[in-house]
Amino acid sequence: MPRPMSGKNMEKSKNFSQAMKRLVQSLESWRILLVISLILAMISSILALIAPNKLSEFADTIGEGLFPNTVKLEEVVVKITDSFHLENIEEKMPIIMLDEEISKEDKDSFMNLLSSFSKEEKDSSDYSLLFQKIPSSILSTLLEEFQINGVNISVDDQIKMLHLTSSSQDLSTLDQLPESIYNLVKPEMDIEKVKNIALFMALLYIFSALFSYIQGFSMATISNHYAQSLRSKISNKINTLPLKYFDNHETGDVLSRVTNDVDTIAQNLNQSLASLVGALTLFIGSIVMMFVTSWALALTAILATVIGFFFMFLILAKSQKYFNARQKELGDMNGFIEEMYSGHSVVKAYNGTEKAIEDFEKLNERLYTANQKSQFLSGLMMPIMNFVGNLGYVAVCIVGALLTMNGYITFGVIVAFMIYVRLFTNPLSQIAQAMTSLQATGAASERVFEFLDEKEMASQDDIIKALDKEDVKGCIEFSHVQFGYDDTKDIIKDFSVKISPGEKVAIVGPTGAGKTTLVNLLMKFYEIKSGDILIDGTSIHDLSRENIHKLFCMVLQDTWLFDGTVKENIQFNNQNITEEDIWESCRVVGVDHFIKTLPGGLDAKISNDDTVSQGQKQLFTIARGMLEDAPFLILDEATSNVDTRTEELVQKAMDKLTEGKTSFIIAHRLSTIKNADLILVMKDGNIIEQGNHEELMKKEGFYADLYNSQFEL
């Protein structure tokens, strides 16, 4: 399907050849199929090249059937005129004179005719010109039946021919010739040859089409399976990358690699690679064939096209900046519209409409200009290509005609060249197109490979220790932990604390104090810089990530649910959870009633519309977390999206669940954590205060300040 000029940015790759090399390498498993399809593409092109030659032969063969057989015609004419030679007349004279059937007048007029010529004239004169004056009775005696190629030509036929040729010299007179002569002189077309060539060409075309289909089929197969494997690789890569990677990279960036970039690679692989090979073959082949057929015409054709393409590239070079301008204006426009639409209520409430429209008009005008220019220029390509084709055509015709007249070439050569000219101009634009799309492929694959090459999390092959969650007592110790997301700035500085089994630990502090970071370290999402975290005395360095994750049950602030049913979401990856379990945990967090109101109950789809509120989603995630039976519990702002009354209910249920478990709670609302056994007050990566609520309030320090600010006005 022809892809419309999309608004896609034609990115240039940083190192084109390297990216392509890598791309070819990664196509390893499809190598044989790839080579086959490229060879097929070449064969297909070569077949397309043979065709014009055959077509010219075809035209020549047909052309042979156009003209009368002049040799035979001459022969007939000579034979007939021979009858009018003086010797013949003199020889026939006695017979004529003695013939009783010829009337006296006829004999006299014939004698008069003969005597009206002088002696010299008699010798040279061709009586055939005067045959009309010769009485027909004498004529039939003068003429004699003769044979050419075994065909009898009767005297009557000869007379008919003489009558015909005397009246006009047109080709049409030939059509009225007596049958015997007509059959002799009529154009002879080699019908057998015509049939053979036609059959050959039909086969040629069919095979060419077949090869090109097989090639298209296998390229589609390769490119799609390749795309599939790339997507899988990227998706798997996401799981092996350290979380750190995602701090510096936006989600949209990874997403666009999975879809846009992979798509670009697959599309171009499918279309450009084979067409590039085919076009190159066609291009080189047609030049070779043209020179083989006729070097003079070849030079003509190439010269004519080169002139045309010179103009085209001139325009292309000029238009690039307009394309870029259009891209930029489109981007600006999209950005502006997005901003205005999503901030609609503010625009309205602040009477910003007028200004918005004013700004919009400016952008719209700029976009119009850029749009119009780039469209015009891109629209020029086709007509110019056409003209170049026509120019080549005419040049070939004129020079070809000249050459034909001088007998250097046959007409068929011209016919062949008319096609060569098209064959020669088409691949040029194809090559240009394929090159640009290969550029884009290079850039896209560079981005994909760059992602696939990202440094993965440390290997866990040498880890032998493992903690069984049934046996874990629940003791955690942070010892002089130091950590920063980048090397320059430490978020956690020398953090030490010891937590006894079964304690409820709350972590509070202003934004950016490092609360969530602490959890990230505990879960081994990030590797600590120095110091150690010990779980029941075992360093987390000695435990695999999977092992640690098994020990913790975690509920996060972001209400992460995937596109699926309520049941699937609560069950998640644990297929052992029964429906009863799910109902039980939903009852505890108080969403059982809500689930019952959903169409389909547990099998209701959770979608992104408003049917499930943010708070309810959070309750689902809590229900999911509660079903994971683990010795440690982490609640990272787990209830921030539910209102305080619901939160209290959940809290009570949680408290029941956390009995005997060591739990960590990060909360914005201080009310949630007042009953914690230990409150860690963090600021700038350090614990500045610790103790329970009463102790901290008595201290009248940072915590007390924070707490009291709730009531100030």
Binding site: L171, S232, V346, F711
Partner: protein
Amino acid sequence: MFKLLKKLRKKDVVLMLVCLLLIFLQVFLELKMPDYMSSITRLVQTEGNKMSDIIEQGIYMLLCAGGSLLSAIVVGYIASIVASSYSRTLRGLIFHKVQEFNTEEIKKFQTSSLITRTTNDVTQMEMLIGLGLQMMIKAPIMAVWAIFKILDKGLEWSMLTAGCVVFLLTTVGILMLIVLPRFAKIQKLIDKINGVTSENLSGIRVIRAFNAEEFQKNRFEDVNNELTSMQLFNQRAFAIMMPLMMIVMQGLTLGIYFIGAFLIENAMMSEKITLFSNMVVFSSYGMQVIASFLMLAMIFMMWPRASISAKRINEVLDEEVKIKDGQGLKLNNRKGVVEFKNVSFKYPDADEYLLKDISFQVNQGETIAFIGSTGSGKSTLINLVPRFYDVTDGEVLVDGINVKDYKLKELHNKIGYIPQKAVMFTGTVRDNVAYGYNGKKHISEEKLEEAIKIAQASEFVEKMDGGYGAHIARGGTNISGGQKQRLSIARAIAKNPEIYIFDDSFSALDYKTDSSLRRDLKKYTKNATSLIVAQRIGTIINADKIVVLDHGECVGIGTHKELLKTCKVYKEIALSQLSEEELENA
């Protein structure tokens, strides 16, 4: 579709007519060329012709080609003008319309959909006009004209050409029928791939914490496989297209020659040469006919997409804006008074009322707070004041006048609105804070500084590169959520409104910033009325009036102290946040 095409400007319609004429010329010239080709052929073929005759014909042909090129360039130029100005017009119409929209309409269409309607859908229409215009005019003219030219040149050839056209169109049609519905599915699958991947990314911590990598991988692979097999099928089917087109075109030439050979063989000698040159001409006209039918097929491929876009654009343009300007306001000395009289509200298509029979009044300088659990209707209630929605029953009065009687602009001038989710515009800090002029064109530097200071934003703004002139990136991505919220509050302060509306604007701030902001604000806005939606008891504890909402009904109005005694719901909320004695002490 045609309705939307009426939006073309008169000037553009005239230009299109010029286009039509030029395309006629173009087709005429293009179809003239085979005539010259055939005379060149004849001249070359028969002996005894002068070279100058051939050159003369060649020059004519080149003139035709040049003329057609020129006319194509002019047509291209006009088409680019028409198409771009058409898209400009459509974009303008949609944008203006959306500006008239209110929250209700925006919600109905959804912002993301409105954005694609203003951008992608318009581009679709632009492409239809730009490319389609030329093809749509050219293809039929070309086809008819070319057919006309060859019709008397040989029945056999005509039938062959017709057969090829029918064959080609049928196969293209069948292919489209097979492939097109799958295209839509592929689009959905790509969305799904995107969806699963973005789930993977957004839930990365959850997935790892649950050791659910394998689970997610399987989910991804399911979609991946489905997408691949669907796309594979499509592309394999599509791979047939090119060879098929080639073979039909080549087959046509071959067929014309083959039939020609027999025709010539059986013809009178006098007709042979004519037949031969007719054959050469026919083979090129036949190509033209096929090419123009292919062009038509392309338009039919473009048409469905464009008509869907047209429908989507029309939906926006035809949407009736429900909230319109009132007739304007009578002079009134009252200031900052907001009154709800038996207000009820429900969404147009909903059965349930979101708000039921709410009445209260707040006077100048007072603060009124709204509290209640999620979904109790707090936000909806205060959105009725700036008329983001209109009440279903009852009335909302500002300064004693029904909000429906105000011109929207006058009403909004009285109000400083701070949304739940802070909105930032690309530009500088100054641009953002000075966004609402309140009728005045410029904001003084002192006023700006003051507003930013009250909003507790001075500290971070001054640290920013460029201070008040610092750049705010698109969507405010270069500052944090709390910082955005503070700037958004500063924007309202800079406006100097009579009435402040805080739609849960404080939740993104920590307690400390929250309380100092409110303290400074209170001092500054002694004469302004504040309407506050809040979740934290602490935020509203000192309000003059607190309205407690529960499932759209007002279950209590009063001060904190009063409500603790009289309102059960309020007490529950309060106790979920603070202990009994803390409440007593506050």
